[in-house]
């Protein structure tokens, strides 16, 4: 069985924010290859791993986005300081002091202009310092339009994993593990494991993948927030360690009630720990799948994750195992909705 932490580290060792997913795509394809019937990439870079099923089953699209949030270089000044913009939702006051890494291995640290107060800090007040003293020197390592990722560590602590980009590499791991599980026998359904691009900038990859595949049913896998930390602003009934989170709704969709019921029934039948999840903000690939072409039943299994979009996110390893088990059990069996 694929080890959750090791597989995460293997596919997370790249710099692959939205729009630059080649490296993570290669890493995921390598893990998926032993279990796949075919692996293709579409025009926008979505990685599509197919698992053949028995005739007469449903055509199912599973989608976990493989892009991460990130930084993109917009300007290099005379002293070699690098200005950047955000790829996806980044909280600017949370960034100063964060180590970052470019695709070619160049490392630096995010810092803030001296005259700005932390609470007022916007992305345009931040810069990356790569330790050089002129533009010419900086340009030996970094060019405008290059992308960078958080260079923070991954480790296990307590019952949890801490890592950058659990959103959404942990869901990629979940899907890879589900793929491994379904490969034990021929599933009842034709399965497309899509590792989608550009979710963090507006679920752009899943939209075109859904159009291209035209599935009967769509199931996204993504992280969700939790309600189990001190003094949270908005109470939420979803805990790290509470099991696979079956999404009821979020900002992008109301999940198909029939699909939700079928997922819950599947969890109960197979004795898999699960919880319901309603996310008040944010959205997932499920939203665009639901409204692709003539529409489809769509839903989402979420991994409860603390500190989403910060340089150090945290989730519970058992939730990943439960989610993979639920997905595998559900898509392997006959589905009547």
């Amino acid at each position: 069985m694929l080890d959750i932490f090791d597989t995460l580290c293997e596919i997370n060792a790249c710099v692959s924010p939205s729009g630059s997913e080649e490296a993570v795509s290669v890493a995921i394809a390598k893990v998926a290859a032993p279990f796949a019937d075919s692996i293709t990439t579409d025009a926008l870079g979505n990685l599509i791993v197919k698992k053949n099923g028995k005739p007469g089953g449903k055509k199912i699209m599973l989608s976990a986005h493989m892009d991460s949030i990130g930084l993109v270089v917009t300007y290099i000044d005379d002293k070699g300081y690098i200005r950047f913009s955000n790829l996806g939702g980044i909280n600017a006051p949370g960034l100063p002091g964060t180590p970052v890494r470019f695709g070619n291995g160049t490392r630096g640290v995010v810092a803030m202009e001296g005259k700005v107060k932390l609470a007022d800090c916007k992305i345009q007040n931040l810069y990356i310092d790569i330790g050089v003293s002129s533009r010419e020197e900086a340009e030996k390592y970094v060019k405008i339009a290059d992308v960078a990722a958080f260079d923070t560590p991954a480790f296990r602590t307590g019952n949890c994993i801490v890592s950058p980009y659990l959103d959404n590499r942990i869901s990629c791991v979940t899907l890879l593990r589900a793929l491994e599980l379904v490969s034990a026998s021929t599933p009842e359904n034709e399965l497309y494991f899509v590792f989608s691009v550009q979710e963090e900038v507006g679920t752009r990859g899943a939209q075109v993948a859904a159009f291209g595949l035209e599935p009967d049913l769509g199931l996204a896998v993504d992280v969700t927030r939790t309600g189990d930390t001190p003094e949270i602003a908005v109470p939420m009934a979803c805990d790290a360690g509470g099991g696979a989170a079956v999404k009821i709704m979020d900002g992008s969709l109301i999940c198909s009630p029939k699909l939700v019921a079928a997922l819950e029934k599947c969890a109960e039948t197979n004795n898999i720990k699960y919880q319901r999840e309603i996310l008040l903000n944010g959205g997932t690939d499920a939203g665009v799948m639901q409204r692709s072409k003539g529409g489809m039943h769509a839903g989402c299994i979420s991994i409860p994750t603390r500190y989403i979009h910060s340089p150090q996110e945290m989730c519970c390893e058992s939730d990943v195992a439960d989610s993979a088990a639920l997905i595998a059990a559900f898509v392997s069996a006959k589905i009547e909705l």
Binding site: S18, A43, R83, L87, I144, A145, V208, F211, G212
Partner: protein, 338 residues
């Protein structure tokens, strides 16, 4: 290019009123031996036959411009209006406009300064507090000259000035339309598609249906983009500058451009001595977003002109940049001949 851009900038075509642009483009594209098709939204789709290309290439530029729409005629003959697309309200007051196809002259007015309070003078007035004065003294008089739903455009004729600069309204995106027309008439004889889109300024509405129909393998959007090279802007917020060459964006709010195509354009520019600049800020959006996400996905890139005071009556751009944009688009097309 200069004369063509100037001619196109003088045509009225606020979003959804693109007829005059179509009337100009269609006969020229037909005379160049192209098939021309107008879809139900009014997108003008031009297929230029030629030597086979290694993929189905589509260029796109929008015909529409930001403008004004008349929403009510008052009893006193003044016209209430709304903006079509993103017009900066700060630039409206006192501007001359031309109302409707008959070009009825008008002035955008607001409460007389001696009637305003001190506080009112400190804030940007709302569009609802402005009106267009066409010199009519009653609703009946005004009705003889215009009607509810008429468009208006800024009265701003194209003018060359300074060192190779052009001032005009609607450089966004007549520069893209001019580039496509020149590609159609004089560009490399390579099989290719050109879509002159409608309604970009109100939400890139024309691009998706056109892309669904054409089904390209790659698309290049030719656009005008905001230049911020102004005295009070910090260096890292200047975005791009007229005169520094064709602008290549790597992303904006509508799309992250395809990395391979972005890199290809950059190296084509370097190989052919075409002057270019990379857009150094993430802002704005283009038809690229809806083209990229049409069907099962279409790789997109953009080549833009740096335009100061974009969406105002007096946009400013560099004439030499137009030539660089054309040269780069033509080089891309030539590079994809089989």
């Amino acid at each position: 290019m200069k004369e063509l851009v100037k001619t196109l900038c003088a045509i009225d075509a606020p979003s959804s009123f693109e007829d005059a642009m179509r009337d100009f483009i269609r006969p020229r594209a037909e005379a160049a031996g192209c098939e021309v098709y107008e879809d139900v939204l009014g997108n003008l789709i031009v297929h230029k036959p030629g030597a086979p290309a290694d993929k189905r290439i589509m260029f796109a530029a929008h015909m529409d411009e930001v403008g004004i729409i008349i929403k009510a005629l008052g009893d006193d003959g003044y016209l209430k209006f709304a903006c079509v697309g993103g017009v900066d309200v700060r630039v409206l007051i006192g501007k001359r406009v031309l109302v409707g196809a008959n070009h009825v002259p008008g002035i955008i007015g607001i409460k007389a300064v001696h009637l305003t309070t001190q506080d009112e003078r400190k804030i940007v007035p709302k569009i609802n507090d402005m009106y267009i004065d066409i010199g009519a003294s009653s609703r009946e008089e005004a009705e003889k000259l215009t009607c509810c739903g008429d468009y208006a455009v800024f009265d701003s004729f194209p003018v060359d000035f300074g060192e190779g600069m052009l001032k005009a309204r609607a450089i966004d995106d007549r520069v893209g339309c001019a580039t496509m027309l020149k590609l159609i008439e004089n560009g490399p004889a390579v099989d290719s598609w050109y879509v002159f889109t409608v309604q970009e300024e109100v939400g890139t509405r024309g691009a998706a249906p056109a892309s669904h129909r054409i089904k390209p393998d790659a698309a290049i959007i030719l656009e005008g983009t905001t230049a911020g090279d102004l005295p009070d802007a910090k260096p890292h917020l200047k975005v791009c500058a007229p005169g520094a060459g064709a602008v290549l964006p790597f992303m904006d709010n509508s799309a992250i451009y395809d990395r391979e195509m972005f890199n290809e354009l950059r190296s084509l520019a370097e190989k052919n001595g075409i002057r270019y600049q990379i857009k150094q800020y993430v802002s704005g959006g283009t038809d690229a977003g809806n083209i990229q996400r049409a069907r099962a996905g279409i790789p997109v890139a953009a080549i833009s002109a740096a335009v100061r005071y974009i969406h105002s009556p007096s946009c400013v751009a560099s004439i030499d940049d137009f030539e660089q944009i054309y040269a780069l688009a033509a080089a891309f097309l030539a590079a994809h001949a089989k």
